[in-house]
């Protein structure tokens, strides 16, 4: 508690104190990033100030502040948001051998404006009483009429689904993807659900047999209720691989503390910090040298889709429109 009080007073005095500091605009919430930044400050002596908000408003804030932004780092989830920030000219390229070594190529911006720091896998979940793993295969297969009245989906307004459909567009083209999404909608057991937790609970209660969700929501549920009759299935293993998205960070175009900002992102990608980054929310480390949390590791290894996550951003508008046309609400 003393540390928090000290931090509050420090942040109030930050105009006066000359100690090295870095300011982060974060769409990841306080309880996820605080332990991480505390560890960074302890190790480096660099103070970290954070301001949290939703992704959209944070980008608008950066735009409005222009050259006078206090922000040095933008930290957010979903490649689509990072792509949008880079596209709006809010980030600057960073040449870092450390980041190039720690983060696989498909999890960072080809222009080096942002870097994935944890991996969020979006795969299929099924009711263990009603289905066997061998009944399942791919995202595309869920459009098959055999799943009529058995599928649960989360709302299309969530960026995770926009990214997933964006990846399907990249692999199958727009016309075929639209057929797939229309098939999904025709197979729905109930109206699209507001979040992944509700979706997993619906599968557990038998409202539907199968659905698509991010693995960490499953992890949170299973931690609380070990005997939940829900199984995880790694989708598209004989095809392109499981759709993955990231949480990631970039240095802002008008950063005042660029060196400290780069140091923070490099530190977050390092082997000693990656577990702090990923495990607290049961995500996968972006750095392949680091093992995930034991619970997460218990789900086995899987083939990730190797298409650059950047494409999720590029295809987001097309994906959103496509889902509207297909009647996916």
């Amino acid at each position: 508690m003393k540390r928090i009080a000290a931090l509050v007073s420090l942040s109030l005095l930050s105009g006066v104190v000359a100690a090295e500091s870095v300011t982060v605009y974060s769409a990841r919430n306080d309880q996820l990033v605080k332990p991480l930044f505390d560890a960074f400050s302890k190790e480096t002596g660099i103070e970290v100030r954070t301001l949290t908000d939703k992704e959209g408003p944070l980008l608008e804030k950066l735009k409005a502040e222009g050259a006078n932004t206090p922000a040095d780092v933008l930290l957010t989830v979903d490649a689509g948001n990072l792509w949008a920030a880079a596209n709006a000219g809010l980030l600057k390229p960073v040449q870092s051998a450390t980041l190039a070594a720690n983060i696989p190529a498909h999890l960072r911006d080809p222009g080096n404006q942002w870097f994935g720091l944890s991996v969020r896998a979006r795969t299929m979940f099924y009711n263990k009483i009603k289905l066997k793993p061998s009944d399942l295969s791919t995202y595309e297969d869920l459009a098959n009429v055999k799943w009529k009245g058995k599928l649960c989906l989360r709302t299309s307004k969530k960026v995770y689904n926009q990214s997933l459909v964006g990846m399907l567009i990249e692999e199958n083209g727009e016309a075929k993807t639209e057929q797939i999404v229309k098939g999904w909608v025709a197979n729905l057991a109930t109206d699209p659900l507001p979040d992944d937790t509700k979706l997993l609970e619906a599968i557990a209660a038998g409202q539907c047999d199968v659905g698509i969700a991010n693995t960490y929501y499953f992890g949170r549920l299973i931690e609380k209720k070990k005997d939940l009759p829900v199984g995880l299935f790694w989708a598209n293993q004989q095809a392109g691989g499981v759709h993955v998205n990231i949480s990631g960070a970039g240095v802002t175009r008008h950063a005042k503390n660029e060196k400290a900002a780069i140091r923070l992102i490099e530190w977050m990608s390092s082997e000693k910090a990656q577990n702090l980054v990923a495990d607290i929310n049961l995500e996968y480390p972006a750095n392949p040298k680091v093992k995930p949390d034991p619970l997460v590791a218990s789900w086995g290894t899987f083939k990730q889709n190797q298409i650059n996550v950047n494409k999720a951003g590029e295809n987001q508008v097309a994906a959103t429109k496509l889902m509207d046309r297909a009647g996916y609400r």
């Binding site: 928090i4 996820l32 949290t52 408003p57 409005a64 507001p194």
Partner: protein, 540 residues
């Protein structure tokens, strides 16, 4: 109503009105400014695929929530203000409690209890097939939840009206042989019209602006359309065009409201003695109590119990000293905003009363438009001019400073309060303006003839008579600011977290159970002013 006083310098009166209105119009204008840019294929896409559904959904929602909150608010206000039945004293303040419950929190808990996977349906399934169970995630469900959450606006304003109508009104009605029922429908209800209309229009503006609740239901309205165009399709122009449609609806509402009140005077009959309680007996009395219990349980007690259970489960790990800061910040912000906004409302309402020129009427109405704009949209609209001013200031300081600051106005409480004012002026204005209508022109003439005028008239005649309306305004703004999220997120200084911010932090990763702790704190802290106010209104 004729002009009760002709000011000597009308232009001087316009200046404060213009200033206050500008605070609202600037953010709204910023949002609408990209209207002129071509929205191209995104707009065409919305037109082809979504617009009809969004419009119908929005209209249905307004119709349903308007009617629902009016029925709940008026019936409960009449019962607790004018009737006598078991538990009346308790219900008269308890029925206000749902005001402290944020609408999206009520939505989340009620859905959780009533949906397929919830405890009720799971329990019922234990006895066999329940295929016909109504789906809570439906149009009817969202209307029900929003009516339950928002009726206190109507209740509070309307109860004030019934209490101040004076007992002589009903005494006269009874002496003329009116039954209590006829007295209600033909006298009390029509005379309470400005309050009912004022309360319902607040509810409708809040409904138009709501995002959190409709998103929880996945019910598509103009607001979800705006978010989609802006954040999923990166098209500010298309979002602006949707926002302008939404504002047109809000303007239509205002015109309808003005029309509904035109040409009538709603002065108090006699002194504002509390209305004579109509004694309800037998099954009628118990029906009245049952109605209150039903509403209070679904809108407040059951969701609160659910929140408390969740909060209890996480309190051991999440509750710490920081909550003192959160509560302190919430109280300070809401208190300052309530004072500022109620004061501005008083100025506006007073100017509008003394200057019936259409220009002044329009100005004062426009000032309340911000309440119909979705919070996150208005937050951005308010931040852009502040950041622009900051950039101007910093750039002009640059030649003199080696290390210029990155913020001067932005990230200060001042900027926050101005943004709150742009959003919540309507909430302060409605009760204050309605209360002003209680003061007769004759009372003002009398005061003037005794040589009391100007500020002294305001202090000696108006303020004492406005006490109820001002308190209502203060309370509504206070509770609304406590619950507010997008503006607080966008404009707060570093390290300045509130209870609402804490709720956001927890819900942003879908951890609703953990959000229960700050939600409960929010509800409990919001209750204090509710109880204080009700005690006060009982005294008058």
């Amino acid at each position: 109503m004729q002009a009760s006083a002709t000011p000597r310098h009308p232009a001087l009166n316009y200046l404060p009105a213009l200033l206050i209105t500008l605070v609202t119009l600037l953010p709204v204008g910023v949002v609408l400014s990209s209207l002129l840019q071509p929205a191209g294929d995104v707009w065409q896409h919305l037109l082809d695929n979504l617009l009809l559904e969004l419009t119908l959904n929005t209209l249905w929602l307004m119709l349903g929530v308007g009617a629902g909150s009016a029925i709940l608010g008026v019936s409960l206000a009449w019962l607790t203000a004018a009737c006598h039945f078991p538990g009346r004293r308790f219900f008269s303040w308890a029925m206000m409690l749902p005001l402290a419950m944020p609408t999206y929190v009520l939505a989340f808990t009620l859905i959780g209890l009533l949906e397929f996977t919830g405890p009720l349906q799971t329990w019922l399934r234990g006895f066999g097939d329940i295929g016909g169970f109504p789906n809570i995630r439906s149009r009817g469900g969202v209307i029900l939840v929003m009516s339950l959450a928002l009726y206190p606006y109507v209740y509070l304003l309307c109860r004030n009206a019934f209490l101040t109508q004076g007992r002589r009104l009903l005494e006269v009605a009874q002496s003329l042989g009116y039954s209590p029922r006829r007295g209600f429908w033909q006298l009390a209800l029509p005379m309470a019209r400005p309050w009912i209309v004022g309360g319902v229009s607040l509810v409708l503006m809040e409904t138009l602006a709501d995002f959190g609740t409709v998103a929880t239901f996945n019910y598509d309205t103009f607001t979800t359309g705006i978010y989609k165009a802006w954040y999923a399709m990166f098209s500010l122009p298309a979002a602006s065009q949707l926002a302008s449609l939404l504002l047109l609806l809000a303007l239509g509402l205002m015109l309808a409201e003005l029309r509904l009140r035109r040409g009538r005077q709603y002065n108090a009959a006699g002194r504002g003695d509390p209305a004579l309680p109509l004694l309800l007996t037998g099954w009628r009395a118990w029906l009245a109590s049952a109605w209150c219990v039903l509403i209070l349980s679904t809108a407040f007690l059951i969701p609160l119990a659910q929140l408390l259970i969740w909060a209890w489960q996480v309190a051991a790990t999440d509750l710490d000293q920081r909550y003192l800061y959160f509560v302190g910040h919430s109280l300070l912000l809401a208190g300052l905003a309530a004072l500022l906004i109620t004061a501005a409302s008083l100025v506006l309402a007073y100017l509008a009363r003394n200057n019936r020129h259409w220009g002044m009427q329009l100005l004062t109405r426009l000032a309340t438009l911000g309440y119909a704009v979705p919070g996150a949209v208005l937050a951005v609209g308010a931040f852009i001019p502040v950041a622009w001013l900051d950039n101007l200031l910093i750039d002009s300081l640059r030649p003199w400073l080696s290390n210029p600051p990155t913020q001067i106005i932005k990230g200060t409480l001042f900027a926050m309060l101005v943004a709150y004012m742009a959003r919540f002026l309507a909430v302060g204005y409605q009760p204050v303006e309605s209360a002003l209508q209680r003061i007769t022109p004759n009372q003002e003439y009398a005061a003037r003839s005794l040589g009391v005028s100007g500020l002294s008239l305001l202090r000696r005649l108006h303020l004492p008579m406005l006490r109820g309306g001002l308190l209502t305004g203060l309370l509504l703004v206070f509770v609304d600011v406590m619950k507010e999220m997008p503006i607080t997120l966008m404009t707060r200084p570093f390290g300045w977290d509130t209870l609402a911010i804490r709720v956001f932090e927890m819900t942003s990763e879908g951890e609703w159970q953990r959000a229960a702790l700050p939600s409960v704190a929010l509800v409990l802290v919001g209750l204090l002013p509710v109880i204080l106010l009700m005690r006060n209104s009982e005294k008058t």
